[in-house]
Symmetry: C2
Subunit: 156 residues, 2 copies
């Protein structure tokens, strides 16, 4: 089941890469069904806050017509940053599953440990490294391609 | 100057209270001018992510047509939570001024210390307790009224 939903998040991440966005995708799952899916749109919206997690939470809230997503799970291909950890906590999601670790910005286990804070506001189960290889490969391929495109532009 | 801009943020917070929203207001300032203003809209939008800071950053990015708000300052009447600290960092705001401390959710100095993390991603100057009394009073009056309204409903 975990892999099925992470595969759906990966599909979203692939869509992001096709649009030139950093390939991060996310889905919200309730009662074993995907109720919302999204990917990063920072480039196209010229807005550095348009992370996959924030967009998918917005969509899940609209779909369920509630500001609280108790009983829902979030699957995301990259470890969430501080903004997204905060959003996950405000949304009252029950469980978080992420794929690749983000050594630079990740705030679940890599930098800050948002969900290990003593505050009950951050009371969420989290599971790390789900389909990590596939999620990491998508990101490293994207950045490799980006660098080689830049290099070929400079060498023209 | 600091007080002039915090007064503008307080005016936004008052508008929130009038709509039944938790009274938090924010403005973004560039070159001595307010370029965006917003208040919480969590209740009216049925969305727990609609904090004043996120909305005002969105508006400033739209206004300036850029995802990076270098050289801009954010004034907000309440200490930002983790989500909003993350958003402030992604937006590359230069300075943060906040009014009241938030002992429960504040992530600048009260709980997590987001902007003291070693990561250069959180490299922002911050100033705490600007017009703290006025900002706190607006919040405590709002919650006092809310409790008394609830009490009068129960006693009917």
């Amino acid at each position: 089941m975990k892999n099925e939903f992470m595969t759906a998040a990966l599909y979203e991440a692939e869509k992001a890469a096709e649009c030139g966005e950093v390939p991060v995708g996310a889905v919200v799952v309730k009662n074993g069904e995907v109720i919302a899916a999204a990917h990063n749109t920072c480039e196209v919206q010229c807005n550095s806050l348009r992370h996959a997690e924030v967009i998918v939470i917005d969509r899940a809230m609209s779909y369920l017509k509630t500001p609280r997503l108790d009983g829902c799970d979030l699957y995301v291909t990259l470890e969430p940053c501080a903004m997204c950890c905060g959003a996950i906590s405000h949304a009252r999601l029950s469980r978080l599953y992420f794929g690749a670790y983000d050594k630079e910005r990740g705030c679940v286990v890599s930098n800050l440990h948002c969900f290990d804070a003593p505050s009950p506001l951050f009371n969420i189960e989290y599971y790390c490294g789900i389909m990590e290889d596939e999620c990491s490969a998508l990101l490293s391929d994207f950045f490799k391609r980006l660098r080689s495109d830049k290099f070929s532009t400079f060498s023209k």
